[in-house]
Symmetry: C2
Subunit: 395 residues, 2 copies
C-alpha cells in the first residue's frame, strides 16, 4: 500500500522507535531515574517564564479572529517578520527587512520550504559528515541527491579540499549546521571565509547559483565566548534557517524562520517561491499564536549555564573514564569515539548499563556515538559511575 520511497524509511524508523521503546522498557524495570537516555535532542530546560506570560497576555488582549486566523501572507504576520528582522540586525549588524523573513513550522519546515523552492530533480545538495540524518530525507523529498563530504575526525571542521572537488555543475545547495549536530563543533570565521570563497569560485566557473543553507537551531548555544559567524555576511546566496526549539525550549510548538536576504540572486522570486512552498507543502503558515509569542520573547536569553554545566561535567567525566572526545563549543551534543570500530556494538554494550546513545552511522560517521546532554544535571551525575563501568569493558 505505501509508496516505494517510504519503505526503507519506515524500516529505519522502526530502529529509532525500538530505541525509544527500549528506554521505556528499561524505565519500567529500573525506574526512570536509573535510565540514562542521551538519545534525544529534546531540551530539558523549561521555556522561560516570559513565554507563559506572553501566551496569557496575547490570548487575553488579542481579538481571537485575528489571533487564530490565517495570516495574510503565508510567510507570516508582517509585524512579526519586521520584529525578527530588526532583532537580527541589532545582533548581527545585518540589514534585513520584514520581507526577508519567512516564518516557518520550525527549522525542519523551513529547510523543506527552501529545498522545495530551489531543487530540481537530480540537483545535488552537499552536506559535511557527520550531519543531521534528516538532511538526506529532506533532499530526497524533492528528488535531489545528497552528496556527502567525508568527516574530518581530527577536529570535525569541514574538509574543504574534498568539498572543492565535489562541487559540480549540478550542485544547487550546500547545507551547514553551525553549531553542529552531532559534534557540537562551531565552524570558525576562517573556515566560513574559505568555504564561501570556494563556492564563489565554483559559481563563476560553472555559471551556476549555489545556495548556502545555514541551519542554525543551536545558534545561541555557544560556550566559552565563541563567536558563531552570521553567514549572510560572507556569501550572498545564503539562506538561514532558524528555530526557537532550543533557544526558547519550544521544539513541539514548531516555530522558526528562514532569512532570504536581498543579496541573494533573484531574491524576490525565491521569496515568492518560499511563500508558495509554505502553502502547498501544507504548512500554510507558521502557528499564529507562537508567531506572536516569539515576537514578544525576542530578547529572552537562553539559560546557557545549564547546558554548559552538563557539557563540562559529562565531558570531564567521560575523559576520566578514558573515552576519546573533542570538547564541543556549541549545541548540546558530545560526539565520542567508540572504543570499538563497530559503534553499534558499543551502543548495545552501553544499554547494559541503561545508557542510551545514538550510533554515529546515523550521522554518516561510523565509529563514533552521539550523546545529547540536554538532560537533567542529575542524569549526568548519576550516569558517570555507569560510564565508568562501561569503560572498564574496553580500557
Amino acid at each position: 500500500m505505501i509508496a516505494d520511497k517510504m519503505k526503507n524509511m519506515v524500516a529505519n524508523s522502526s530502529a529509532i522507535r525500538a530505541m525509544f521503546e527500549e528506554g521505556n522498557r528499561l524505565a519500567g524495570i529500573y525506574g526512570a531515574e536509573n535510565v540514562f537516555d542521551f538519545s534525544l535532542g529534546n531540551p530539558n530546560v523549561p521555556a522561560p517564564e516570559a513565554v507563559k506570560n506572553a501566551i496569557i497576555e496575547i490570548v487575553n488582549d488579542t481579538d481571537p479572529v485575528a489571533l487564530h486566523g490565517y495570516t495574510n501572507s503565508n510567510c507570516g504576520y508582517a509585524e512579526v517578520r519586521a520584529a525578527v528582522a530588526k532583532s537580527l540586525n541589532e545582533r548581527f549588524d545585518t540589514h534585513f527587512e520584514g520581507k526577508n523573513i519567512v516564518m516557518t513550522v520550525g527549522a525542519a519546515g523551513g529547510l523543506n520550504v527552501i529545498l522545495k523552492s530551489i531543487i530540481n530533480p537530480g540537483d545535488e545538495v552537499i552536506a559535511f559528515a557527520p550531519y543531521f540524518g534528516e538532511y538526506r530525507s529532506y533532499t530526497n523529498n524533492y528528488d535531489g541527491v545528497l552528496v556527502e563530504i567525508s568527516p574530518n575526525t581530527v577536529d570535525f571542521q569541514p574538509k574543504l579540499d574534498e568539498f572543492e572537488q565535489k562541487i559540480t555543475p549540478k550542485t544547487k545547495a550546500v547545507i551547514v549546521n553551525n553549531p553542529n549536530n552531532p559534534t557540537g563543533v562551531v565552524y570558525s570565521e576562517e573556515t566560513i571565509k574559505k568555504l564561501a570563497a570556494i563556492m564563489e569560485a565554483k559559481q563563476k566557473k560553472f555559471g551556476t547559483n549555489i545556495v548556502l543553507i545555514s541551519d542554525e537551531p543551536y545558534r545561541e548555544l555557544a560556550y566559552d565566548g565563541v563567536e558563531v559567524p552570521y553567514l549572510t555576511k560572507y556569501y550572498d546566496n545564503t539562506v538561514v534557517g532558524y528555530s526557537y526549539s532550543k533557544s526558547l525550549s519550544l521544539p513541539g510548538e514548531r516555530i522558526g524562520y528562514l532569512v532570504i536576504p536581498d543579496e541573494m540572486k533573484d531574491s524576490e522570486e525565491v521569496l515568492a517561491a518560499a511563500n508558495v512552498a509554505t502553502r502547498i507543502l501544507g504548512f500554510v503558515n507558521a502557528p499564529t499564536l507562537q508567531q506572536k509569542v516569539v515576537e514578544k520573547c525576542l530578547n529572552e536569553k537562553t539559560d546557557l549555564s545549564f547546558y554548559d554545566r552538563n557539557r563540562e561535567d559529562l565531558y570531564n567525566g567521560l575523559k576520566e573514564c578514558g573515552f576519546d572526545c573533542i570538547k564541543p563549543q556549541g549545541a548540546f551534543y558530545l560526539f565520542v569515539k567508540s572504543p570499538v570500530s563497530d559503534e553499534k556494538q558499543f551502543c548495545e554494550a552501553a544499554k547494559k548499563y541503561n545508557i542510551l546513545i545514538v550510533p554515529g552511522s546515523s550521522f554518516a560517521c561510523p565509529g563514533y556515538v552521539r550523546l545529547a546532554y540536554c538532560v537533567s544535571h542529575e542524569t549526568i551525575i548519576r550516569s558517570l559511575p555507569k560510564f565508568k563501568e562501561l569503560a572498564k569493558e574496553y580500557f
Copy 2:
C-alpha cells in the same frame, strides 16, 4: 534560481496576491467597511471562549518541558489521540483507537502526509470538479497525476459514470471534500454508497488498492439538519483528514488529524509511513499546545447559526437580484453561476462595486464564481445593494 516546478505556481500565486492587494487598495480608498471581500475562507466567528480558557489553564497547569517538547511519537500525544478517537466513536458509532489518529498541521498538512505516504510517481489521484485547487499542488508534490472528473452543474453531486470510466490500474487515491468547497454541497449517503461500490469493484478488477481520502474541514458546518456520512463506514480503504480551522475557528494554528482505520489494507504500515512522513516533511509533530487545546475542546459546538444566517441572507439576496445558484447545505460558500460565460470578466465587473469573489476556474469549474460567506453579517447586508447594482448590468 527557483525550481522549475515552482515557476508556474509562483505566477498563479501572484494573481491571488494581486486580489488581496486590490482589497487593501480598495479599503484604503473607500474604507474597509465598504469593501465586500468574499474571497477568503478565513472564519469571521471567533474561537469559542473555551479555547482561550483552555490555553490559559494548560500553560498554568502543565510543566513547560512536557508541554512544549517534541511529542514521543510524531503522530502526537497518546492521550490526545485517544481522546479524539473516543470523541469520533461517540459521534459516528465508529471504533477507532488512539493509534488510528495522526495529529497533523491542519488538514493541508494531513493531506500532504497521506499523499507522501502512498503516492508513487505517476500514480493517479482523482478529484471531482469543482474541487479545492490545492489538491493539484499536493498531488504534484509527490509526482502524482491529478485526474479530474468534470463538474455536474445540475446539483454538483459527483458524476459517477465518468468516475467509473476514469479509474485505471494507476488510480491510487480519490479525494472527496464533504461538505464541499467551493459549492457547499453535501454528498448524500446514497452517493457515497454508489461511489464506494464503484471503487470496490475497480479494486477487485485491477487487483489494486484505491484509497478514498475524505477531506472534512467543514464536517460540522451542515445546515437544515442534513447528515454528513462518515466515510470509513462505507469503504475500508478510507483515510479521513480533519482540521479544527473551521469548527473551532483556529485556521492559523494549524491543528487537525488524519484517521487511518484498522480496516484499511496494511493499516499498520500506512500508520508507520504517516509517522515518518510527518517527520521528514518537516512538520515533526502538530503544534503541542494546540493538541492539548483541542483535547480540552472536543465537545465545543460550532456556532452554526452565525453562518446559517449569512447563508440564508446572501442566498436569498442573490436570488432576488436574479443570480442563479443552488442553495448549499454545508460549508460557508455559495457557488454562483456567472451571468457571462467568462466568469473572470464577471469578477472584474464585481470589483467596480468593491465586491471581491473568486473565479470558478480556480476550482476547475469555469462559468461560476465562489463567494465565501464566513464574513460578518453586516458585510452581507451592506453588500446586497451592491450586488443589485451589479446585477443590473446583466439582467
